[in-house]
Structures are given as structure tokens and as C-alpha cells.
């Protein structure tokens, strides 16, 4: 019998432990040294892990969807080892316990809302820390990423000095305040009316309404979410789009649709040509940085600045988003982006939503 995790002969495991409280309010005992971490079902977490730890070497297992998201993003460029992390133990929302145990993790990070998974992990005796998603901060991405970072820092045993969470929060709030300051004088009827197109294909137009990340993004940057009546994401019909008639449309990275599809009216059965945003050529694709920018990611301040510029080009012409991106990546990820990489971030390809 070796001495690795789980290898100890029964009853002889004497290693010292420490505790953290996870986002489900559970107190979890962890080994003092955490060397092998597995993320099971929470897709953005590996990129946050990179932010916190400066590398993903300690990540021995991640969900397949996290890996396919990493491919076209900057994460794979900054941390090539992420592409080698084990993914076979998980599919969708399911985990093969024995396969997970073969990875001998010191700690498992799972999606807190997934109660059956929690039960399952507890059986194995591996410490499992729950991270909550939308139920955590009401779509406030700043708060969301901040609490994730705080908890991850505890799990990884980071000291106060090594912590980046506070600096992240400070910069995010700074960006937010700057934007709020400038837009607050705009009367409601003059505000840009925006629509987040979550997905779009021939079968369904899916928009993101309130109680989803879109709402935070749009209100934070002074725009009006035309789909605020809708909770979460939902499919709507063309009639409803006509009724909203938005000034600007954002397309997320969860769909392969690009602005030119709408501008060129290329989707069968959907006539976009009469919609104001299309007429004015104001249709944009979400950038893709360390992770997709629509859900909470550690790129939050960048997303805010980018959105503000698109919503009110005249109000926010005092900074260049390209420069901001380079600066931010240097500061937080210690990575020097090439110009071509910046272009790639701002113009993600169609396949970014595809399996890599």
C-alpha cells in the first residue's frame, strides 16, 4: 500500500486536516496539502482555477465541456496542460465514481445545486466542495466570480498575500462605477434597447431575459433589456422580436450564429431584415477570452467595458478595448497577448460553440 490519497490502509490514515465551508453551507475536511483536484460538473470553474492558481497543473480532472470550451479560448494558450486533464469520468451531469476514485483526488469540486451528485460523492469519502451557480448571486457576475475565487483560494490553501480575489473585485467595481457614472443621466426612453440572443438556429430563437446573466450585463452598462419579461432563457417567435424591435443585438458564444447571418438574413423562416438593430448594422458577437464572456468569468471588467462601448459608442470613446484586454491579461494572467490573439478574442469563429 502506497501513501497517496485513498491508498492508506484502512484506519491508518493519519494525515492532518483543515476545514472549509462550501457554498452549500457544509463543513468539509480537507488535507493540508491539496495536490490533485477534480472539477466534476461546473464548467467555468477551470478557468477561474487558472486565475487563482496561475496554472492548471493541479487540475487532474475536468468536465468534457470545460475542455471543449478551453480549446478556442485563451485558456488553452496560457495553460496548454488543461488540454491533457482527464475528462472521461464525467458526462453531462453524471460522474462515474470508480473512475473518479482512480484519479485519486484530494478534493472534488462539484455543482452545489446538484443534490444527487453531492450524495454520491459523500459516499466515497473524498472531500467534496460545492460551488453554486445562478442561485448564488442573482446573475451578478462580479459577486459570483468573487465568491468562487475566495472559496477556491481557501481550498487550495492560498495565503492572504497570494489572493487575487480582492483585486479582481476592486477592478470590476471600478469599471462598473465608471460606466454607471456616465450612463446614469440618460433618460429611460433614450436608453439603448438591447436583446441578448442566446441561441439562434432554424428551429428556435432563444433569448436571455431577466434572472439570467444578460440582465446584469445590460443594466450594468445602462441598456434596457427588452426581454426583461422573460425569466431565464426562453424560445420566442419572430412576432415577439418584431414587437420588441431592439436597437442592438448581442449573440452569445453558445450558438454558432454570427452577426452576418442576421445581417444577411440567412436563417430560413426568420426575416430579420426589418428589425431596427439589423437595419442599423448593430449586431455583435460576444467576445471569447479566458472563457466565454456571457457567463461569469474572470474577464468580467473587460466584458463591462466592451458592452458599454457597444451600447453607447459616443460616451465611451476614451479607451481602446484592445489595449484594455492586453493590460488585463498581463496583470491577472501574466500573459502577453499578441495582436492576433486580441483579434481572435473579439471575433470568435463560428466553431467556438462547437465541440473541439
Amino acid at each position: 500500500a502506497g501513501s497517496g490519497p485513498g491508498n492508506a490502509v484502512w484506519g491508518k490514515a493519519t494525515a492532518k486536516t483543515r476545514t472549509v465551508v462550501d457554498q452549500n453551507g457544509r463543513t468539509v475536511k480537507l488535507p493540508v496539502q491539496v495536490k490533485r483536484v477534480v472539477v466534476t460538473t461546473i464548467w467555468p470553474l477551470p478557468s477561474v482555477f487558472y486565475m487563482v492558481d496561475g496554472s492548471t497543473k493541479r487540475l487532474v480532472g475536468i468536465p468534457p465541456a470545460s475542455r471543449s470550451a478551453a480549446g478556442p479560448s485563451m485558456l488553452s494558450a496560457m495553460a496548454p496542460e488543461i488540454m491533457k486533464a482527464e475528462t472521461v469520468f464525467a458526462t453531462g451531469n453524471d460522474v462515474n465514481l470508480e473512475e473518479l476514485m482512480k484519479l485519486r483526488p484530494d478534493v472534488v469540486l462539484f455543482r452545489g445545486e446538484n443534490a444527487p451528485e453531492q450524495e454520491k460523492l459523500e459516499k466515497t469519502g473524498i472531500p467534496a466542495v460545492g460551488f453554486r451557480t445562478t442561485s448564488l448571486a442573482d446573475g451578478n457576475s462580479i459577486e459570483n466570480v468573487y465568491t468562487w475565487m475566495k472559496l477556491l483560494e481557501q481550498v487550495l490553501g492560498k495565503s492572504e498575500k497570494q489572493s487575487k480575489a480582492e483585486e479582481f473585485k476592486r477592478q470590476s467595481l471600478q469599471a462598473l462605477n465608471m460606466i454607471q457614472e456616465r450612463v446614469k443621466t440618460i433618460p429611460v426612453e433614450k436608453r439603448t434597447r438591447a436583446l441578448f440572443l442566446y441561441k439562434d438556429d432554424e428551429k428556435a430563437i432563444t433569448v436571455a431575459g431577466s434572472a439570467h446573466f444578460s440582465h446584469f450585463w445590460l443594466t450594468a452598462t445602462g441598456a434596457v433589456n427588452v426581454a426583461a419579461d422573460i425569466k431565464g432563457t426562453a424560445v420566442v417567435n419572430m412576432e415577439q422580436i418584431y414587437k420588441w424591435d431592439p436597437d442592438i443585438i448581442y449573440i452569445t458564444n453558445f450558438t454558432e450564429t454570427l452577426p452576418e447571418d442576421l445581417l444577411g438574413n440567412k436563417v430560413n423562416g426568420q426575416d430579420w431584415s426589418r428589425v431596427k438593430a439589423v437595419k442599423n448594422h448593430k449586431v455583435y458577437k460576444e467576445p471569447l477570452g479566458i472563457y466565454r464572456w456571457y457567463p461569469p468569468s474572470t474577464d468580467v471588467p473587460l466584458m463591462l467595458k466592451w458592452l458599454a462601448q457597444k451600447n453607447y459608442p459616443g460616451l465611451f470613446n476614451d479607451y481602446s478595448i484592445e489595449t484594455e484586454i492586453k493590460k488585463y491579461f498581463r496583470q491577472f494572467y501574466h500573459y502577453q497577448l499578441r495582436d492576433s490573439q486580441v483579434r481572435q478574442i473579439l471575433n470568435p469563429p463560428r466553431d467556438a460553440a462547437k465541440d473541439s
Binding site: G92, D201, A204, V236, Y242, Q270
Partner: protein
């Protein structure tokens, strides 16, 4: 003497009541159709709707806004037509299946057609991007493969033909359902999976004239065949020997009905995914309304199904800002009506 005159009067009364019933049944879809065109999330004044529709026949001045025209003609009209077609198709297919199997649990999926078609669509969605024509063709193709498999399995052994068919159908149907699960399992959960899931769930939201063009022909042919065979289906409720001794080629007849019903089912599933309840329940409702003669059940199912689907889809697209999935509405809206019929007639199977 006394008895026979009473009978005569009675017959007349029944005939009259029947005529009114059929008139109502036939008017319902027409009224609902017109109503549907005038209702939607985007308000177009009914008068404008009439003018827009009329402009195709008469040279009218264009007094409506840009959106008005595309809402009525591009968004609503194809969708409403598709809903009617699909409702009619699934109901008549269901009624035919119940007839030839003599089983109240038989539905358009009885022989694996829907799941085969669904599998084809899911596979095409996985393999190709954004090519809906390919999806429809693959879906139709695998619908046919499924029925072919059922046929082959049911022929593995001579015996009780109907039973062999039902059991083969169950197997083929579950097999393709498993295959669908497999595709969902290997599809990328962020991009492909939601599309496949949504597609299979059943929706008319993106109905276009192209969709209509593909299915209308197929459904018309299939439904026409079934309607023409309406009396022959009655003969299948006799014992096999009796039917044979009336010169009926049972096997041929049964497979003609199955073929037509399959065509019709596959066409609808390939256009708008699985739509449950309609094909199983509307035929029962029709039976309770018009009796157990398939000469009446088939047209009644057709009319009732078209109306039902129309109403459901109307609710789906207007009740809230977002589309309500059809699967939520189908049963909820129809269950009380069905329970009422059940109470009034007791099921109507003999």
C-alpha cells in the same frame, strides 16, 4: 308496424342530430383558423388582417405597415397551416392504428415510426450544421427504416400477426429511443444538445412555407389513402378468418394502412418533433363523439385533430412572451375535455 314507424322517426332524428354534429365538426377548424390569423403577440388589427389576406385576390391599396404584412403572411399563416396539418395527420394516423390493431393503446408511435424519425433527425442535427432540409430527409428516411425493421421482425415467425406486429413495434420503438439517448449522450452539451432536445420536444415556432411544402404533399397523400380505406378498416375488426372470407387481403390491407399512417407520422415528426397526446387521444375523443364506425371516426379525427392542434399552438405562441412548449399544453388543455367525454360515453369501444 308501430315499432317500425317509431324506428323511422328515430332514424330521422338521429340523422338530423348527426348532420348538425358534422356541421359543427367541419366549421370548428375554419373558425379557429380565421381567429388564429388575427391573434398574436404583435397586434395587427383584424381589419388589416382581412385586407392583407384580400390583397392576394384583389388589388388593394397598401395601407398597412411593413411588419403587419410579414407577421400575417410570413409568420402566422404558415404556422397556422402547419399546426392544422400536423394535428389532422397525427389524429388520423392514430385512429387508423387503433383500428387495425383493435387496441386502444395503439398510437402513431406503435410501430416505432416516431422514434425512428426522431433518431434520423437527431443524427442529422449531430452530423450536419444548419441544414434543415437534410434533417428532414434523414428523419423521413429513418422513419421508413424503423417501419421496415418492424416489418422484418414481425415476419420472423408466422403466428398471431397483430401481436407480432405490436411486439415488434415495441422493440423497434425502444431501440430507436435508446439510439436517441445515445446521440444526446455524445452531443456537445453546450451547443448541439440543446438544439436536439428542443427539436425533439416538438414545436411549430419556426414554421415556414418550405416546411409546409415538404410535408403537405406527403400528408395529403397518406391521409387520402387512409380516408379512402375507411370502410375497409371496419372489416379488420372481424376475426381474421371472417375478413378473409370476405375476399379481404388482410396482410396487404393492413400494410397499406400502416404504410400510409407511417408516411403521415414521419412527415410530421420530421417537421416538428414529437408531439404527444394528439395521436393517442383525439381518435378516442372522435370515437366517443361519432361512434365506432371508421367511416365516421377517420374524418372526425381529422377535423378534431386539426382544431385541437390549432388551439394548442395558438396558446403556445400567444399566452406569454416566450413560446410555451407544446408538450406542456397538449395534455393539460385536453384532459378535462377527454374526462368529460369519458364520463358521457364510457369509452365507446363496443
Amino acid at each position: 308496424m308501430d315499432k317500425s314507424t317509431m324506428d323511422h322517426n328515430q332514424v330521422l332524428k338521429v340523422l338530423k342530430r348527426n348532420r348538425i354534429r358534422w356541421l359543427l365538426l367541419a366549421l370548428l377548424p375554419v373558425v379557429c383558423f380565421l381567429m388564429s390569423l388575427a391573434i398574436g403577440r404583435y397586434y395587427v388589427a383584424p381589419a388589416t388582417v382581412v385586407r392583407i389576406l384580400g390583397s392576394h385576390l384583389l388589388p388593394l391599396d397598401i395601407t398597412w405597415r411593413e411588419f403587419d404584412y410579414s407577421v400575417v403572411c410570413q409568420v402566422r399563416l404558415p404556422r397556422v397551416l402547419l399546426a392544422m396539418l400536423v394535428g389532422a395527420a397525427l389524429s388520423i394516423a392514430g385512429a387508423s392504428f387503433q383500428g387495425i390493431f383493435g387496441n386502444p393503446l395503439a398510437s402513431p408511435d406503435a410501430l416505432g415510426v416516431s422514434s425512428g424519425t426522431g433518431f434520423g433527425a437527431a443524427l442529422a442535427l449531430l452530423l450536419f450544421d444548419r441544414n434543415m432540409i437534410a434533417v428532414q430527409l434523414w428523419a423521413l428516411f429513418f422513419g421508413m427504416v424503423a417501419i421496415g425493421l418492424t416489418f422484418l421482425i414481425s415476419r420472423l415467425r408466422k403466428g398471431q400477426q397483430v401481436l407480432m406486429l405490436i411486439l415488434s413495434g415495441v422493440v423497434v420503438s425502444s431501440f430507436f429511443q435508446a439510439m436517441i439517448s445515445l446521440i444526446k449522450y455524445i452531443a456537445d452539451p453546450e451547443s448541439k444538445l440543446p438544439t436536439i432536445t428542443y427539436w425533439l420536444m416538438g414545436s411549430m415556432a419556426t414554421a415556414s412555407y418550405r416546411d409546409l411544402a415538404v410535408v403537405a404533399g406527403i400528408i395529403a397523400v397518406g391521409a387520402a389513402i387512409l380516408l379512402l380505406l375507411r370502410w375497409r378498416i371496419n372489416l379488420l375488426s372481424l376475426s381474421e378468418e371472417e375478413a378473409k372470407s370476405m375476399g379481404v387481403n388482410i396482410t396487404l390491407l393492413r400494410w397499406t394502412v400502416i404504410g400510409a399512417a407511417t408516411l403521415v407520422t414521419a412527415a410530421t415528426v420530421s417537421t416538428c418533433g414529437f408531439i404527444g397526446w394528439v395521436g393517442l387521444i383525439i381518435p378516442h375523443a372522435a370515437r366517443m363523439l361519432v361512434g365506432s364506425d371508421y367511416r365516421a371516426i377517420l374524418p372526425a379525427s381529422l377535423l378534431l385533430g386539426a382544431t385541437y392542434m390549432l388551439i394548442i399552438d395558438l396558446i403556445a405562441r400567444t399566452a406569454t412572451a416566450s413560446e410555451i412548449p407544446l408538450s406542456i399544453l397538449t395534455a393539460v388543455a385536453g384532459a378535462p375535455f377527454f374526462a368529460y367525454l369519458l364520463r358521457k360515453t364510457g369509452g365507446g369501444w363496443g
